[in-house]
Symmetry: C2
Subunit: 230 residues, 2 copies
DNA sequence: TTGCTGACTACTGTCTACAATCTACAACCG
DNA sequence: CGGTTGTAGATTGTAGACAGTAGTCAGCAA
């Protein structure tokens, strides 16, 4: 069981607030305000900011403050591009293994099926993305996992935004089933094709659904950042 | 110019000591000791540990302490595997762009040629790896950059270890030239082949040269970690 | 009216001190 | 003689306070 300190719970809390959108992009995170709101002191909060900075959920600007990272269409596209590459690499690695166990993958799908719609939006995202996470884990490369994990939090922001919109259709379970059966039968190239197509579809849904305001926010964010460099 | 605070300089200093091997794998980093040695207080040092934890140079274990991350043959292999995938993806992205500028890549090669052997081992590594870094940068995907950057510090440890050995031959410049000319002529598939071969050769050199002791250290590290979880 | 300069405010950066917890060693009991 | 438990030392976790800097607003001059 992980030891949960003040820093770690602050990380979780802020992460959740950013992913759910309660803390809007480019919002400034005042150390004093938040430490008071959370009832903690500033040093552990600063450690939390450093950790969240690694997840690219916030941007830590020395002597200026910490800001919620911006969002943009382009950013979302880039995440999906890298994600697709990471997961395809996982399949490549799997294809070279003797007899990888696909039990965790199958388990992820049944869990997703059972819990679908019964959880909060954010937990729903985590359950739904578990298939992809376990795919990476099965490859057994800790650096691949690290890269994938770094994407997860920011990906969650976009995904949760999509899931919050009316009429969003998260019925991609059968696509996952197809990918899994390809893997189990050793049809790795086909699995990669299905995976790529699945991610591309998801990305397109997300792109169509995304409000313009977020792209605008991202652009403002960039402007501010440029100003701080000069 | 970046503002350099106490935390940032602590990060640089510790990072350099780990990469050069002055701080051996699995060494425990006592907060009090190091803060006294550096003449700083513990809170910024803890922030530095969190940042170094993101780079996987140290392992921050709550209530136990911070340890220099272990090294192993397997770990080195995994880094190279992911690195190869990231850089090949960069080439894929480049191949879809209209007219990418290869000037930064060419510049990296001339710099490497000029400065080769005139720098410290660690700076030598950074100059030599600049070609690869700029390849990623040219693709223009900030998440790809982020993944690559996370690998860099740990890669540096292995690479510096290799460069420190007698008889190491860092004469891979011509291989880079070949890759670059393939890229400039639009022969992307060929560029990826050369890149993969180049990385594979480098990995093999490193693997042959690596002392057993480091793998052993990595194993001890894992044992300790398992013990702490139970 | 606009631009510049000064001071003030508020925030971040850092430090010192205290509390909580872990580890190691020793003593005691089986 | 070995194992277990308790205590002491050390080390990490957190809080609160102070110093330095950046941003802002107001006043004055052009």
């Amino acid at each position: 069981m992980d030891i949960i300190g003040v820093t770690e719970s602050a990380v979780r809390r802020i992460r959740e607030e950013i992913i759910t959108g309660r803390l809007a992009p480019t919002t400034r995170l005042h150390e004093t305000d938040i430490s008071e709101r959370f009832g903690i002191s500033r040093p552990p909060l600063r450690e939390a900011f450093r950790l969240l900075g690694n997840e690219k959920l916030v941007e830590f600007v020395p002597r200026r403050g910490t800001f919620v990272a911006g969002m943009s269409l382009e950013d979302g596209d880039q995440i999906y591009r890298v994600r697709q590459m990471l997961e395809c690499t996982a399949i490549d690695i799997l294809s070279q293994q003797d007899a990888p166990s696909f039990e965790p993958l199958r388990g992820a799908l049944t869990e997703a099926q059972e819990l679908s719609g019964k959880l909060s939006v954010i937990d729903n995202f985590y359950v739904m993305s578990r298939f992809h996470v376990r795919l990476i884990e099965t490859a057994g490369n800790c650096w691949l996992m690290s890269c994938h994990q770094n994407l997860q939090s920011c990906l969650a922001r976009y995904q949760v935004m999509y899931l919050n919109m009316p009429g969003s259709t998260p019925r991609s379970l059968d696509e996952h089933v197809t990918i899994l059966s390809c893997l189990e039968n050793g049809r790795h190239a086909e699995a990669k094709q299905h995976l790529t197509a699945h991610l591309e579809r998801t990305r397109q849904c997300l792109r169509d659904a995304m409000p313009f305001g977020s792209a605008e926010a991202g652009r403002r964010e960039n402007k501010r950042r440029e100003g701080s460099q000069g």
